[in-house]
């Protein structure tokens, strides 16, 4: 279930490289599940826009607020015309959104140990998941990465649910120097997790899927790719997988994804197709289309 509504900006706040927006989007918050995203339309509701593609954004938090119902928070890294427009919205501004969308993270039935891997604003996709796992008695370990401190999401709330936290930045400005992909194997071994959840760039997701396979764990990977419509209509989001019957298929990243079992994705094919697209798609944890 998902709705298409005109949302209103209730709060907007710059934290590091990201703009954190709190939206009153009637009907969206109530339906959110961990790993859901929403699709924003760029441009004022009801007016012609030059930007037709949707901008998918992970739903970071859902918070009931007196008089507004369940508000939703999203994280925007302003890197292109669409994300700059979103980041520039002021309190009271309106925008059209569709959500929640996508196949969410599958939660374990048993209280098994879990590892959550997030990179850059992909970390936003993990907040609700961590809370849900914590409620179910699943021990949560975290591996969080970003290019630098400014692009590392604040993780205080996440840490509250976690047994252990490893932070890594490419420039070493916080935590260890390096990147998520290099540390996944070792972190997984130490955490003894039976399920790894990840929202990150493709190299890191690929590393997660591989490490899970080696350690006999399950992996649930949230694949960030451009989603021109985000609603399953345009076939613009091909995700190469091996289906349950063993046959190679191409499914839609927005509907059959964004969360897929790591052992089902044809990572080499996915990375090869992403490499053909200029821009940050293949590298950052963006659920975005042309940013």
């Amino acid at each position: 279930m998902s709705v298409h509504v005109t949302a209103e900006v209730l709060m907007t706040k710059r934290i590091g490289a990201h703009q954190h927006l709190t939206l009153v989007a009637p009907g969206v918050g109530e339906l959110v599940r961990p790993g859901s995203f929403l699709a924003a339309s760029i441009g004022r509701p009801g007016e012609a826009t030059a930007h037709l593609a949707r901008r998918p954004l992970w739903i970071h938090k859902v918070q009931p607020m007196a008089g507004y119902g369940a508000t939703v928070q999203v994280v925007v890294e302003p890197v292109g015309p669409g994300t700059r427009w979103l980041a520039g919205l002021a309190v009271g501004d309106r925008l059209d959104v569709t959500g929640p969308l996508g196949r969410p993270f599958a939660l374990p039935r048993e209280p098994v140990a879990t590892l959550l891997v997030g990179e850059a604003h992909g970390v936003a996709a993990l907040q609700l998941l961590a809370e849900r796992l914590h409620e179910r008695g699943c021990p949560v370990s975290l591996l969080l990465g970003a290019p630098d401190e400014a692009r590392l999401l604040p993780d205080l709330e996440l840490r509250r649910t976690a047994r252990s936290v490893v932070v890594v930045t490419a420039d070493g400005s916080v935590g260890q120097r390096g990147d998520v992909a290099d540390l996944v194997g070792e972190t997984l071994r130490r955490s003894e997790a039976q399920v790894v959840y990840a929202a990150a760039g493709l190299p890191a997701l690929h590393a997660v899927a591989r490490a899970a396979e080696e350690h006999g764990a399950w992996s649930q990977t949230a694949v960030a790719m451009p989603l021109p419509c985000a609603t399953g209509l345009c076939q613009g989001c091909p995700l190469p997988v091996v289906a349950e019957d063993g046959v190679q298929r191409t499914v839609r990243g927005c509907v059959e994804g964004p969360v897929v079992r790591g052992d089902r994705v044809r990572w080499d094919d996915l990375r090869a197709q992403a490499a053909a697209v200029p821009g940050p798609v293949g590298s950052a944890g963006r659920a975005g289309t042309r940013p």
Binding site: S41, A48, P228, L233, C234, G236, Q273
Partner: protein, 291 residues
């Protein structure tokens, strides 16, 4: 009420969803049973995996697209998409295309028409002759009037009475002759417009759709309607809102397809149909319309 007759079919509304821009997912935001018809994505006899990434790219007020017509083939379509659309109450027009074939080989259109024409859930067929990247994608393209007549005639011969064929013809110089040839070969209506030939950023042939091409569609719809007043003309290309629909109808189109805008705003087709039902003709201040 805003019901219209197109090629002898009575449709609930003159607002249809264009091929490749709507499917069962759309029903959540634009109830399919309130639209004139849903034109399916283009189906070929055999399944097609579709083109490589990127397939759909934003362009000012438009979308560049070269999907490669991914589809599950006739059998997959009959097993999955068609029954779903029928169940949701959609009037279904099945878009079909032939594949480029050597002399003596089959382009697949005859078996497609035979099977589809016999099914009660199929209201009409739309023969796609307007794909700008057809040759590049190995699809049958027909530009000259006699080639159009051949392709149309081959399909019409296989359809039972009461199941009309619509010929989708590219808006370009020569469209009037192509439309006349299609009508003489038995097409019940022509769909005029479609995407404008363009290229993706990497140079691959593609189509340009969306509000950017609205003026192009108006031009060719007007020429065909003026030259062939007895022929039912369906317009496709650049519709952004209800004023565009009114303007195209004022030029003589009996029905109008909404494509890209459904990808940007999945509630748009339903909203446009509802607004049109309330006030079908252009208001004096929007004449010449589609501003």
């Amino acid at each position: 009420m805003s019901a219209v007759r197109v090629s002898g079919l009575s449709l609930r509304s003159p607002v249809l969803v264009a091929a490749g821009c709507g499917g069962r997912e759309l029903h959540a935001w634009s109830p399919l049973d309130a639209l004139g018809a849903v034109v399916t994505r283009t189906v070929t006899l055999d399944a097609r995996p579709g083109a490589r990434w990127p397939r759909v790219v934003e362009s000012p007020a438009g979308l560049l697209h070269a999907t490669g017509r991914p589809n599950p083939g006739l059998e997959g379509f009959l097993a999955g998409e068609l029954p779903e659309l029928v169940r949701l109450g959609a009037r279904v027009v099945v878009s079909v295309a032939g594949v480029a074939a050597l002399p003596g080989q089959s382009d697949g259109l005859v078996p497609l028409a035979r099977r589809l024409g016999a099914l009660p859930g199929v209201a009409a067929l739309e023969l796609d002759l307007a794909t700008p990247e057809a040759a590049h994608q190995g699809l049958l393209s027909a530009e000259e009037p006699h080639a159009v007549a051949l392709a149309v005639g081959a399909v019409v011969r296989e359809l039972p009475p009461g199941v009309p064929l619509w010929a989708k013809l590219p808006g370009r110089p020569g469209v009037v002759a192509a439309a006349r040839a299609a009508a003489e070969a038995g097409a019940g209506a022509v769909v005029v417009g479609g995407a404008v030939p363009a290229a993706l950023p990497d140079g691959r042939p593609c189509g340009l759709s969306g509000p950017a091409i609205g003026g192009v569609t108006r031009r060719w719809v007007r020429e065909v309607c003026d030259a062939l007043p007895a022929l039912d003309v369906v317009a496709s290309g650049g519709v952004a809102g209800v004023d565009d629909v009114r303007a195209l109808r004022a030029l003589g189109a009996v029905a109008v397809q909404v494509g890209s805008v459904a990808l940007h705003d999945p509630a748009a087709p339903g909203r446009i149909a509802a607004e049109l039902a309330v006030r079908p003709s252009p208001s004096p201040d929007s004449r010449g319309g589609a501003a």
